[in-house]
C-alpha cells in the first residue's frame, strides 16, 4: 500500500516535470542522450548511402535511420546538411588506451638461458583489460580521426597477453571495455638477451608452450574427473593461459609485418593448428593467393613508409653537373645509372606496398586495417594513398568498419549504421576519403564529441621559436634499425630561453630519458651525442621537412640507420 503511494507520486512528478529525469541521470552539462542528426548523407555500410537522411541516437544506440524519421521531442537536433555520416572505424589491433610500460631497471640476468616467463616476454595470461587507462591520449587522438572502437592488446614481446575490444570513450577503464580477452596477441619477437632471444628460439618456444598447454589441459581434465592418487596439476600461468587457444576458443593475432614473418607464422599455425589472424602486415603482397586459400584473416598495417617529397634543389644540381668536365661527367653518369636502377626498383616496391590493400581486395583476401605503430594523424592520409593506388573507397571503408567487426566477432553490434547497433559513428563535412575531409562530430557509445576547426591564428607559441631553429624544434618519433631489431622512441628538441637548442632522448631500450649533448646544426643537418646506459651514442641526421634520416653510431655495437618523423613541432601545435 505504502509502495503504491510512492509509485503514484513518482508518476505524478514525471508528468509534471517530463525532462527532470534526464537532467538528473546524466553528467553535468549534458542535456540529453537523445540526438537527431538531420539532413545527413548516411553511409550505412560500405557502398550504400541514404541521402538527406536522419539518424536518431538514443541511450547509446542507433534508434532509427532513414529518410522520414520522426524526431523525438527530447532530442538534441544536429543539423548536418550536406555532411556525411559513417560507422565509426574499428581498429584491428593496436595498443590504444594502453600506456607504454617503462622498461624496468633489471638486475643482471644470472642465467639468461632460464629466465622467468615474464622476463622472457611470455605473459599470455595478462589482460589488456587490466592495463587500460581511460585518460590515455591515444584514445582521444584516434577518436578524432574517426575511430570509435579498437582491439587493444598489452605491450610486450613474444606473448604479451590478451586483447580486448574497447570503446574509445569512458571515464574509467571499465567504461572502455566492450569485450574482454577476445584474443591472444603474439609476436615473433624474442626477449632481450634471454631465451628466447632470436626468432628461431621464439618459434620453438611457441611449439613447446602450445604442446605443454595441451598436456596441461589433459592433466587438469583427468584430475577433475578423478584426482585421487594423481599428482596434482601445477599452476603454471603461461601454459594455463594458452589452454583456450589450444581448444580453439580464442584466436592468436600474430604480428607478421613482413613476407617472411607471414611464412613463419603460417608454418607454425600449420604445425600446431590454432586459430590465427595475421596482424601488422606491412609487406605481404606476394602472399595474397596463399592467404586467400588459407582464409586466415589479415590485418594490414596503416603504418606506411613515409612518402618521399620531390626535392626542389634536384634540378639545380643537374644544371651544375652539366657544367662539369667531360670525364667527370662520364663517371657521374655511370653512378647515376646505378642510382636510377636502384630508385626504380625501390619505387616499384613502394608501389607494391601501397597497392597491397587493392591487390588483396581484388583477390578476395579477408582483411581489415590495424593501427599499431601509426600516429593517428597519418591514418587518413595513408588510406588515401592506398585508394590512389587502386583500393576502392568501399573496400577501404569495409576494412575500417565491417571487416574488423567481423574478424573481431562484434559485427552484430558494430561496424554499420543500423537500428539497434551501438551508436558508434562520425560525421564529416565532406566524404571522409576526400583530401580535405574534416571530422565534425564523433559519437562513441552514443556520447557526442564535437571538433572545432582550428583557425590559422590559433597556433600556440609559434612566435617563440626562432626562425633558424624551426626546422629542428619539436618531438621526433624515431626508429633505429639495430641489425633487424627496430628500436623506437622520442627525440624532443626544444629552444631554451637563451634561444639555443636542448633536448632529450627516450625509448624502451633506454633505462630512462636522457639529456642530449653537443647539439650541432648546419642547414638540414642535426647531430648530437647522448649517454645511453653507459655508452655514448652519436646521432647524425639530415632533415627533410618533417622527416629525418641518418645514422646513429653506438660503438661498440655498430652504426645503425635511423629514421624519424616530427609529430609535433613549432608549426604543428
Amino acid at each position: 500500500m505504502r509502495m503504491k503511494v510512492w509509485v503514484n507520486l513518482g508518476l505524478l512528478i514525471m508528468i509534471l516535470f517530463p525532462y527532470s529525469s534526464v537532467y538528473s541521470q546524466d553528467a553535468p552539462g549534458e542535456v540529453t542522450r537523445t540526438y537527431a542528426i538531420t539532413g545527413v548523407h548516411i553511409i550505412t555500410s560500405p557502398g550504400t548511402m541514404i541521402k538527406n537522411g536522419t539518424v536518431i541516437i538514443k541511450d547509446g544506440l542507433i534508434h532509427n535511420v532513414g529518410r522520414s524519421v520522426s524526431i523525438p521531442a527530447d532530442a538534441q537536433v544536429i543539423k548536418a546538411d550536406t555532411m556525411y555520416m559513417y560507422a565509426g572505424f574499428i581498429d584491428g589491433l593496436s595498443h590504444i588506451g594502453v600506456p607504454k610500460p617503462k622498461e624496468e631497471e633489471r638486475a643482471r640476468d644470472k642465467d639468461p638461458g632460464n629466465p622467468t616467463n615474464k622476463r622472457a616476454g611470455i605473459t599470455p595470461e595478462k589482460s589488456a583489460a587490466d592495463v587500460l587507462s581511460a585518460g590515455h591520449k591515444s584514445i582521444s587522438e584516434y577518436r578524432a580521426v574517426g575511430y570509435t572502437a579498437a582491439h587493444s592488446a598489452p605491450y610486450g614481446r613474444m606473448l604479451p597477453g590478451q586483447g580486448s575490444v574497447i570503446l574509445l570513450d569512458g571515464k574509467n577503464a571499465a567504461d572502455l571495455l566492450y569485450k574482454a580477452d577476445i584474443s591472444n596477441y603474439g609476436q615473433l619477437l624474442g626477449g632481450q638477451g634471454v631465451f628466447p632471444s632470436t626468432v628461431i628460439a621464439v618459434i620453438t618456444k611457441y611449439r613447446e608452450l602450445y604442446r605443454q598447454s595441451q598436456q596441461a589441459n589433459t592433466h587438469i581434465t583427468n584430475y577433475k574427473r578423478n584426482g585421487v592418487g594423481m599428482k596434482r596439476p601445477t599452476y603454471d600461468v603461461a601454459t594455463i593461459g594458452l589452454i583456450p587457444l589450444t581448444k580453439k576458443q580464442t584466436t592468436l593475432f600474430m604480428s607478421a609485418p613482413n613476407h617472411l614473418d607471414i611464412h613463419r607464422a603460417m608454418a607454425l599455425q600449420k604445425d600446431l593448428g590454432f586459430k590465427m589472424a595475421l596482424a601488422n602486415v606491412k609487406s605481404g603482397y606476394r602472399m595474397a593467393d596463399r592467404l586467400k586459400r588459407s582464409n586466415i584473416p589479415v590485418l594490414l598495417s596503416l603504418d606506411l613508409f613515409k612518402e618521399e617529397k620531390e626535392k626542389k634543389d634536384d634540378k639545380k644540381k643537374d644544371d651544375k653537373k652539366k657544367g662539369d668536365k667531360d670525364d667527370k661527367k662520364k663517371e657521374l653518369n655511370e653512378w647515376d645509372k646505378e642510382i636510377e636502377a636502384f630508385t626504380k626498383r625501390k619505387k616499384e616496391e613502394q608501389n607494391n606496398i601501397v597497392g597491397q590493400a587493392a591487390a588483396f581486395a581484388k583477390k578476395g583476401v579477408r582483411f581489415a586495417f590495424s593501427t599499431d605503430g601509426t600516429s593517428a594523424k597519418s591514418i587518413l592520409g595513408n588510406i588515401r594513398r592506398m585508394i590512389k593506388a587502386g583500393l576502392s573507397e568501399s573496400d577501404a571503408l569495409a576494412a575500417l568498419t565491417t571487416n574488423p567487426a567481423q574478424i573481431l566477432g562484434v559485427s552484430q553490434t558494430m561496424g554499420s549504421i543500423q537500428n539497434g547497433k551501438i551508436a558508434n559513428l562520425f560525421i564529416s563535412k565532406t566524404p571522409i576519403f576526400d583530401e580535405k575531409a574534416k571530422i565534425k562530430y564523433v559519437f562513441v557509445d552514443g556520447n557526442l564529441h564535437e571538433y572545432e576547426e582550428k583557425k590559422k591564428g590559433d597556433k600556440k607559441k609559434s612566435g617563440k621559436v626562432s626562425e633558424e631553429n624551426k626546422a629542428y624544434v619539436g618531438i621526433w618519433e624515431y626508429s633505429i634499425n639495430a641489425g633487424g631489431e627496430i628500436l623506437t622512441g622520442e627525440l624532443e628538441i626544444n629552444q631554451n630561453e637563451e634561444g639555443t637548442l636542448e633536448g632529450t632522448l627516450s625509448g624502451a631500450q633506454l633505462d630512462s630519458t636522457v639529456e642530449i649533448d653537443e647539439i650541432t646544426v648546419d642547414g638540414n643537418k642535426l647531430s648530437f651525442t647522448a649517454d645511453a646506459d653507459g655508452i655514448t651514442i652519436s646521432w647524425k641526421g639530415s632533415i627533410d621537412g618533417e622527416s629525418m634520416s641518418g645514422e646513429v653510431n653506438a660503438a661498440p655495437m655498430g652504426i645503425f640507420p635511423i629514421t624519424a618523423t616530427r609529430t609535433s613541432g613549432p608549426d604543428k601545435i
Binding site: 633489471r106 644470472k110 642465467d111 639468461p112 638461458g113 632460464n114 632481450q192 638477451g193 634471454v194 631465451f195 628466447p196 632471444s197 632470436t198 626468432v199 628461431i200 628460439a201 618459434i203 620453438t204 611449439r207 613447446e208 604442446r211 605443454q212 598436456q215 592433466h219 585421487v228 592418487g229 594423481m230 599428482k231 613476407h259 617472411l260 611464412h263 613463419r264 608454418a267 606476394r286 613508409f305 613515409k306 645509372k337 646505378e338 642510382i339 636502377a341 636502384f342 626504380k344 626498383r345 625501390k346 616499384e348 616496391e349 613502394q350 606496398i353 639495430a482 633487424g484 631489431e485 633505462d511 646506459d533 653507459g534 655508452i535 634520416s549 661498440p556 655495437m557 655498430g558 629514421t563
Partner: protein, 457 residues
Amino acid sequence: MKFIIKIFILLFIPISLSAQESGNILIKNGTVLTITNGVLKNTDVLIQNGKIQQIGPNLRASSNTKTIDATGQYVMPGIIDAHSHIGIDAVNEATNPVTAEVNVGDAINPMAVSIYRALAGGVSVSHAMHGSANAIGGQCETIKHRYGTWDPEEIRMKGAPRTIKFALGENPMRVHGERRGLQPKTRMGVEQIFRSAFSEAKRYMDAQKMHKQSMGNKSYKGIAPKYNERLEVLADILRGEIIVHCHSYRADEIYMLLQVLEDFGITKICFQHVNEGFKVAPELAAYGAGASVFADWWAYKFEVYYSTAYNATILTRNGVLTSINSDSGELIRHLYHEAAKTQRYGGLSDNEALKLITINPAKQLGIGNRVGSLEVGKDGDVAIFSAHPLSVYTIPQMTIVDGIIRFDVENDDNDMRLAIDPEEEMSSFFDHQNEKNHDKCMEGVAEQLFQFSAHNH
C-alpha cells in the same frame, strides 16, 4: 629506353622462376668431371625433370630442352659447402649452453642475396648452420640454392637428414663461462655439458617409455613427463636421427667428444674446422667421423694457432671423409680455389681435390646419394667453368640447380636482389658486408651479450 627494358626483363627473370620447378637441359660437348666415374671428354649431360638422365657423347633431347654448348668448358657437379650461414635470418641463440631445440630451418631467408653470390661460385647446396656460441647449438638446414623463390620451404633440401651444431672450446667457454660465470668455464666443463644433456635426455626417454607402457593399466594414475622440445631433440640425437656437426679445433677435445659420443652410442659425427684434425686422423677414421676443414685459415683465436694447410691432405690420406668449407659468404664464392690449395699443400690429385667440395661434403650431410657427383639418377645440379675448376684462371660460367639455370655469367645484372627495402637510401655491397666480426660462427652473439650487459651498467 633499351636500358629500362633490360632492367625490366632482369627484374622479372628471378621472380618468374618458380621454385622446386625442375628443368630440362642438355649440356653439350664439355669436359665432364664426374667425380665418381673419371673425366669424360667431349661428353654431353642430359637433365630431364631436374634429374640427370644420361651422360655420354652425342645425346639428343626433345625440342623443349634447353641446350647449352659447353665446348672447351668444364662441367662438374654443383659445389657443396658443408659449413655456411647464408640464407638464414638467425644464427646464434647464444643465451644457453644447450639450445638443441632451436632450428635455423625456422628462419630461412630465400631472398638472401648471399645465395646468389654462392651460385656465382658454382655452389648449388649449402649447409646453413647454427653458430658455435653454445656447446649444443641449434639444428641446421641443408638448402638448395634455388635463388628466385620467395618461399622458404622451396629452398629446403627436402629429405636431407637432420643435422645439429655442437661446439667445443673457447666459444662456449667465453660466452657462457667468462662473460656470465656459468658452465662451461673450462674445456672440462664443455664435456660435462654434453654428458649432462645426454643423461637428462635418457631419463626423459625412459620416463616417456614408462608412461607409455603403463597407460594400458587401468589403475595407472601417472602423468606424462612434461613436454620438452630440447630433450625431444637430444633424444633424437641418441636415436641416431640427427647428424652431429661439431665446431672444433684442438685434438684433445676432438678425441674427448669421440669418447662422449661412444659412451652414448652416437655414431653420426662430422667435425667442423678440425684444425688439429691431422693429429687424430687415424682415430677419426676409425670412428667413421667426417672432417670439414678450411684450406688455410687459422690464428684468429688462441686455440686456432696450431694449424697446417696440409690438414685436408693428411686427413684424406688417413682415410677420413674430408671436405673443405667456407663458413663465410665470401669464401663460398671460390671454394674451387680453396680445394686447389690442397694440390699445393699435399699434392692431392685433381679428383681428390674436387671430392673435397663435392661428393665428400655431400656424404657428410647425408645426401651423397642425391648430389655431389654427375651420375645418372642424381639431381641435375651442375657447375660449368671456363677452365679446369682447380685452375687459377677458371671463371664460373653457369650454375644449374635441378635442371634450372640459377646463375649465368652472361646474364648477371648488377642488381640481383629479390627483396627490396622500400625505405633504404642506397644499397651497396660494402654496406651489406660491413661486419667487423670475421667469425660468422659467432654471428648475433655480440648483440645478445650487449643487450644483456647494457642493462647492468
